[in-house]
Amino acid sequence: MSRLALFLLITWILTLLFSSPQRSYGALSTAEGDTWFIDMSRFSKSAHGSLSCELCHGDMKENGEAHPDLKDRSKLRKNAVDLYDYSKCKVCHRQSYARYLLGEHAKALKKSRFNKEAGKSGIRRAPTCGDCHDAHYERSHLTRVEIGAKMTEVCGLCHLSQKRTYLNDFHGRRAVNLGYEAAAYCSDCHGAHECISLKDKAKALAVCQRCHRKAGLKFTEYVVHPIVKKPKNEEKDKQRRVSIIKTVGSIMAVLVIFVVVFFYGHNFLWLLRELHEKLRKH
């Protein structure tokens, strides 16, 4: 009897250990594992921690739908960020919101509204506020370097090759890897909320001149993100520059390897010969 009791006790403890509270509320987690629950201890330490829930969620309506929709529970399976009406952010963040509307992300979002494919798995819709900023847990009073490092990760979630090339670039290495305040982070060139493209040279020059005051138009031909695009007819001039850069890099790599292998081999043979001469005498 006591064995059975012990077995039951252990089973019960193990069940407790391996069933996290989130699992018991599985119905309120999305397919991606995001939960609708808010960790209040983390929330209270965040930038929005002093705000009341009602300030953002007061009318309990998201895009015209009433929130506790008892008939349609599938809503809670969806990602909260997809449903929230982020135009509410402009109540406090007026300037940031206005800038967002001017930028590439807002343009792309408008396009994707007509694109029914967007939002389905694998196809990303353009980001709104909540995709880059965590409304509940975002911390305030971070340093420029901390924000910059975080930004590189956040932007890099979608712009993978841009993040990679930026971190290889002069600017990214100093700014992110070495925490050098004077070096440029993503938003220093592309704007924090506008997120503009810098394909246009005149636009790019204005951006470069924020730091490089004496820069001329040719300066903007510097390639920060040497990415080889699949449709090669796009941005032909940049693609030409990228291919020159890659070719020179490959030639130099081959040259270096050739020279190093030759001299290392030469010296290795020399070492063997001299060791042999020394050992033979003893």
Binding site: A215, G216, I245, Y264
Partner: protein, 238 residues
């Protein structure tokens, strides 16, 4: 030791200006390598540690630039000395006693490799072996190309008034690959062939005190040794 009298009989190999410039270039080169690679391979822990010690990426870059100027001044000083040596001292910049490459260097290289495999004797090297000439010329040439690409990176705004902007990218690539080649050659090949190889281990002091023993002269610079012997009555060309 029985060879004491022999060892004491030494020959002046490097005048003081060469020794001094070598020392400055050596220290400058090491400093440039450390600061430059810390900025380039900044994702590595050791790079971050170096930058932290030097006080940030801005300071590291300043140290790098200062060392670059000091090291390049040595090249300028050396070129001025070459002009002085040729014009005033009436020395020869070509010939067996000089750093100028000759066909014999290629023969020496082939003979030396044959010697590695035990297929022949050690070649009779002149005053400077083919490897020493390569070390010297690679550095003299490399310092200028490193200096040129470095200046483009130092003031990209100025140089892109004439050059297209992607030349900054090219300058970065050339600068870093050449740096890697230089470090791979100087830190390993040069250090091994002058100091660490069993015959010279642990250090060949001749570049620091200018002297080379008779014993080593006979072995490592047999060609020069014979030449000095033959022309001992005539004044040396340097």
């Amino acid at each position: 030791m029985p060879q004491t009298s022999n060892a004491q009989e030494s020959y002046m190999r490097f005048p003081v200006i060469h020794r001094f410039l070598h020392l400055v270039v050596m220290l400058g080169f090491i400093g440039l390598a450390i600061t430059g690679f810390s900025l380039k391979f900044s994702s590595q822990g050791w790079a971050k540690a170096v930058v932290l010690i030097l006080g940030g990426a801005g300071r590291t870059a300043s140290v790098h630039k200062t060392l670059a100027v000091v090291t390049y001044l040595c090249v300028v000083a050396h070129i001025l000395w070459l002009i002085y040596y040729k014009a005033i001292l009436k020395g020869q910049l070509t010939g067996p006693q000089s750093m100028f490459p000759r066909v014999k260097d290629l023969r020496d290289l082939i003979d030396h490799i044959k010697y590695f495999f035990g297929k022949g004797p050690l070649p009779k090297f002149e005053r400077f072996t083919y490897l020493e000439k390569f070390d010297y010329l690679a550095l003299l040439f490399g310092m200028n190309t490193m200096g040129m690409t470095g200046m483009v990176l130092w003031s990209p705004e100025f140089f892109t008034r004439v050059l297209p902007g992607y030349f900054i990218n090219l300058a970065q690539i050339l600068h870093v690959y050449e740096a890697m080649m230089a470090v791979a050659l100087k830190f390993v090949v040069h250090t091994f062939s002058t100091h660490l190889r069993p015959e010279n281990f642990p250090i060949d002091k001749s570049i620091f005190n200018g002297r080379m023993s008779k014993e080593r002269m006979i072995r490592d610079h047999a060609g020069e040794w014979e030449r000095i012997g033959q022309t001992s009555t005539t004044p040396s060309s340097d």
